[in-house]
């Protein structure tokens, strides 16, 4: 299989890390090479020292994009999970990488405040964190993401199914069903369907 990049974008707590880890498992199971680049982890190594100004955020996202580009051209599935708030930089990465699937984790801010697994929204709302995306820093929604998951309405499994199925349909990963029938079985199925007028 050819490499490609799955680019998650969305506010903090919208489900990027959760879904990227699950997708990683599924793709590994299907025999693909996978690397996850999680924003929170990248900021402790590759982008250590960068802050949250627009400039620093852009550098961070470009760096992640560049690594995804290297991985993708070596037939690895690169999965980026960072807020990546600016549309222009995401589109820059899309151009650079080519084989690019953008997944928007959409979740209304009210649901995120309730969810708040890391307690960050509470702090941001109290003003203890400045420049927090979605609170007092901008987030530009994707206009034509390949996949939109509504993580306040869907369960993790539903979002996951949606992503996997779309990757199959787009031809990035082999359909799971395909491996379930042997060629011989497929012939028999065809014969039966034909005999009942279904094909």
């Amino acid at each position: 299989m050819k490499g490609f990049t799955i680019w998650f974008t969305g506010l903090s707590g919208s489900g990027k890390s959760t879904l990227s880890r699950k997708i990683e498992e599924i793709l590994l199971e299907r025999g693909l090479k996978v690397e996850v680049l999680d924003g929170d982890v990248i900021r402790t190594n590759l982008s250590k020292g960068l802050g949250f100004s627009k400039e620093d955020r852009d550098i961070n996202i470009r760096r992640i994009g560049f690594v995804c580009h290297l991985l993708t051209r070596n037939d690895v599935v690169a999965i980026a999970a960072a807020i990546s708030p600016y549309r222009a930089i995401r589109d820059e990465n899309r151009k650079l990488i080519g084989s690019f699937v953008e997944i928007y984790c959409r979740c209304p801010i009210d649901a995120l405040k309730k969810r708040d697994p890391k307690g960050l929204y509470e702090k941001a709302l109290r003003g203890e964190i400045k420049g927090f995306t979605g609170v007092d820093d901008p987030y530009e929604e994707p206009l034509d993401a390949e996949i939109v998951v509504e993580t306040d309405k869907e369960t993790v499994d539903q979002s996951l199914n949606k992503i996997v199925k779309t990757l199959e349909i787009l031809g990035h990963i082999p359909p799971s069903g395909k491996q379930e029938y042997s060629d011989e079985e497929e012939e028999k199925i065809k014969e039966r369907l034909r005999s009942l007028g279904y094909i």
Partner: protein, 434 residues
């Protein structure tokens, strides 16, 4: 020991009768052909039910088992396209994208026994026992847990009749009876030997009988007329036995809540088959590389639309299909043209189409966009097929029955919701098991 010590189990038993129309149940329960079912019908509610589109088992049963339309479970037919290609793939149980009713039941640590459920091949683990039905090929991949395989083999369990030989009506009718008997033996075995909360068995012979011998139903001089009725008498006796043993087990009086009987679509006679891809070709929507190409694998540049069996029309979108030529701004006019053309179509003064639905009207959910752009529903008698192997727009084959979408049935103890659809049944079952 007093039974009051134990919390009463809310058990459910579902009988599936593949392809049995509401109108036929009504008729056979009124004219004495199905006396046992007649008694059951008197005790509860027999309702006409619509199914999801297209109205074939491959789609209907997933809609039943998930309680969702295909936009959620993602099975739109016996066939779908391989990614980036016009060749067919055959979705399997693994393609189902929504949890099944027995997945949900299993989450509550309750056990299911599911026998001959179509569209569950290859079988996967459930909390309990699963024996897959059509299109199951090899028994060893059709069962969960694997430990039940020896029992089934020893008993000579038959998944389905060999439909490739069904043109031979003597063979067909003989095998139907054998298969039903084998199904009942296995049903009895698991009924007795498994601890279960949910029990389901599907009879698929009815559908097979209808496909090949629907013309025998109303024709008393047909050599298989008596066999047709006789098979229904056997099915009736089977349903009757299941009903009374369920009542005994659950110790309930009429109308026996927890018992459900349903079909996955209706049936009617074929007057003419209508070949949808031939029509798309004739109207210039579909272009093939050679005039006598007999499969959409030979699609040529400039194709705007093509069909997959039985009645699914897909626009040949740029970016979605390898030789796509339709741009988003062209979608509306093409849909309008196809709908108008199909609606006008008639044979001997009779309209072929009852309705041509746009995707949004019949599917919602995360996979709706993977469904067809249009789904056609024909008037009774005109059987829509995708086949490009036929020379004309209309024709006949050995098949004498065709599916209907608005004439399936449900029998339930309690009154079902208005405008009943097959996607409602799972909810009714879950409600009973609460």
């Amino acid at each position: 020991m007093s039974p009051f010590w134990r919390k009463k189990k809310q058990q459910v038993c579902v009988i599936g009768l593949d392809g049995v129309p509401y109108t036929l149940v009504k008729r056979f329960t009124e004219d004495g052909t199905m006396p046992a079912l007649a008694e059951i019908v008197r005790a509860g509610h027999l309702s006409k039910m619509c199914v999801t589109l297209p109205e074939i088992s491959a789609v209907s049963w997933p809609s039943f088992m998930t309680g969702k339309n295909p936009g959620w479970h993602s099975i739109f037919g016996f066939t779908d396209l391989k990614p980036n290609s016009y060749s067919l793939r055959f979705p399997s149980f693994g393609d189902l994208r929504a949890p099944t009713i027995w997945d949900k039941i299993g989450e509550r640590r309750k056990r299911s026994v599911v026998i001959n459920q179509p569209s569950t091949y290859p079988a996967r683990p459930i909390e309990g026992v699963l024996i897959s039905g059509f299109v199951a090929i090899s028994l060893c991949k059709a069962v969960h847990p694997p430990s039940i395989l020896p029992k089934l083999e020893q008993d000579g369990y038959i998944i389905d009749i060999d439909t490739t030989r069904a043109k031979d009506h003597a063979y067909l009718t003989g095998e139907l009876v054998k298969t039903l008997d084998s199904r009942e033996r296995i049903t009895n075995y698991f009924w007795e030997n498994e601890d279960w909360d949910f029990f389901e068995v599907v009879v698929t012979g009815t559908d097979r009988l209808h496909h090949y011998l629907w013309d025998a139903l109303d024709n008393e001089t047909h050599p298989y007329h008596k066999m047709f009725l006789d098979y229904y008498r056997r099915v009736d006796a089977f349903v009757g036995r299941m009903y009374s043993r369920f009542r005994k087990l659950t110790d309930t009086a009429d109308p026996t809540p927890g018992f459900f009987i349903l079909s996955d679509h209706g049936f009617t006679g074929v007057r003419q088959e209508f070949y949808l891809n031939n029509w798309l070709k004739k109207e210039g929507f579909l272009k093939l590389q050679t005039p006598d190409a007999d499969s959409i694998e030979a699609i040529a540049e400039g194709t705007r639309a093509f069909a997959l069996d039985p009645s699914r029309i897909y626009l040949n979108m740029v970016g979605k299909h390898p030789k796509g030529s339709v741009k988003p701004e062209d979608v509306r006019p093409i849909l309008t043209d196809i709908k108008a053309g199909l609606s006008e179509l008639s044979l001997d003064g009779e309209r072929i189409m009852q309705h041509v639905f746009e995707r949004d009207a019949v599917y919602d959910g995360p996979f709706a966009s993977q469904g067809p752009d249009l789904v056609a529903v024909s008037n009774y008698g005109f059987d829509i097929k995708g086949s490009l192997k036929q020379p004309k727009l209309f024709g006949r084959s050995v098949l004498t029955g065709m599916h209907t979408w608005d004439d399936a049935f449900l029998w339930s103890a309690h009154k079902p919701p208005e405008n009943l659809n097959i996607t409602d049944v799972a909810g009714m079952i879950m409600q009973h098991m609460e």
